[in-house]
Amino acid sequence: MRAYEEQIGNAMTSTTTRQADGVTEPFEIEVNEIISHYPISKRSASLPLLHLWQNEFGSIDDSGVEWIAAKLDLTPVNILELVTFYPWFRREAGGKTIIRVCRTLACAMAGSYEVKDKFCEAVGLDPHVEHHGYGSAPPTTADGKFSVEFVECLASCGSAPVALIGDDLVENISPADVSSIVEQYK
């Protein structure tokens, strides 16, 4: 366990501020609304609550895992095992805007590897730093504005190569366009 913790950074063990201390009343109202969508079993709300949490706090720390588990009458491991399973969830926050470039076949054929490198260069990241996942933050700029990572198929193969930038799908990206695309998100 020790080696694993060191491998993925200190976020697994402790953080100085607890995200759960930042839970507000409107946040809790939203939590209760989400739980009401699952009249048969509130455990079903764990995924949407994790989304809500990560959208609010940027990542999901131990206090978040414990808070959601308590809210749904679960043990923390029931929540942690979701955070560690799904690629979308993170234990460490990425940048304010996350650029997710599609890596899979149709996009790769259309040049997504080059496009991803261009995105790294455009925001000032080293394209050769590998990101191993496991909930760690993807490579993020020093000012915390951007992260760039590869993701698997975004289901837009007809307009390859594509990237999900924040919530927006950007299509038919040519390497030459990358810097002007990044400008729009600065």
Binding site: H37, Y38, P39, I40, S41, R43, S44, A45, S46, L47, P48, L50, H51, L72, N78, E81, L82, F85, Y86, P87, W88, F89, R100, R103, T104, L105, A106, A108, M109, V151, E152, C153, L154, A155, S156, C157, G158, S159, A160, L164, D167, E171
Partner: protein, 450 residues
Amino acid sequence: MVSLLPIPHPKERRIIFENISRPGFSPDIETYLAHGGYEELRKALQMKPSEIIDAVKAANLRGRGGAGFPCGTKWSFIKHDDGKPHYIVVNGDESEPGTFKDRYILHQDPHQLVEGLAIAAFATNTHLAYIYIRCEFPHAAKIVWDAIKEAKAKGFLGKNILGSGFDLDIYVHQGAGAYICGEETSLLESLEGKRPYPRIKPPYFPAVLGLYMKPTIVNNVETICHVKHILRLGAEAYAKMGTPGDGGTRTMCVSGDVVRPGFFEIPCGGVTLRELIFDVCGGLKPGRTLKAVIPGGSSAKVLRADEVYKIKSKGADGQMVEKDLPMLDVVMDASTLQSVGTMIGSGGVMVMDDSRDMVWALNNLNQFYAHESCGQCTPCREGSLWMSKVTTRILHKGGRSDDAKNLKSIADNIAGRTICAFGEACAWPTQSFLAKFPEEFQARVEEPAP
């Protein structure tokens, strides 16, 4: 945005994408109602539920998500009056590489899905349904939520729908970036808030022990949308558009090395690969020749351009005759693709021309499967990773002379030995690329290590 051709290609027949192709069509309910929206739901509520199921059966509607299971048969597994709650879960986790059709339905015509779902729920005596949408479609989730709220405000959802006494609530549930959740039992585990490991069948057939261990229908987005059109056109007319056993239209998503990639709604069996690539999609890029096609999403076995298949069919005199079928003459329907050893799957057609390196392409897919294996079953968890490692080392000239054999052995030991079909899905690309393009793998492993 890939958009539809302004004027449908003569091979197309737009039913699912009819609204979307109307100039100025928007996803709000008023626009939908102006084009006959929710009329089929009104009609359905006057029918007997069993009549709706019979119509879906007679329409020969097969699932559009990948497995191609007959939809009416799936629905008839649900016993109407068994006293148990039933659920419907719409699979909008569209993640199969090469597939991009549900994306457009969800973003541009959400009410079509809501109406189809309400009809499906009425037919199967279901009062609670979820639409599972992958979280990489954040706008779609919002658009579908808004559509549900609009439909509820107009009395098409909620309590006592249109005075029929039938109740239905629908909620959107977002995934979190895992391909495995497109597998129906994994999707149910995910929806239950558990780690989404697929369930073993038997006993966990969704129609018997599905969501919350109750009878559940899991259908693809496009499949559910077709239901409305079966009622609108009549089962017989709908079935006639397709081939016997594969009725209606199917959205073919074409990507890769064609001049005009995109999605095209075509009657089932309505085009050959030649027509699809060279006519509908405008052919290959200048100076290129066709090398390979993956016909039904990345998991479908690859077809090589110069292959000629031997197809057995019944001749005029009733005797079985064997015919030669060149690869480009393969008709894009479920049974023809099955007879040439692959599948129509989710309709994702990936085209590769002679500039493509098959080792590189397979390695790309192997990396995908290695990343997406859920890790529950050892053959898949370990095997997908090893296949990825071996193709990577072949690609980077570190391949060993027996690596083609190694790869085949790994793939052969995954397929059929796992809880869910991901095992086959990750083994089939390796098995088929090796079988169809052995010379490319052999040439690479004979190169000396750097």
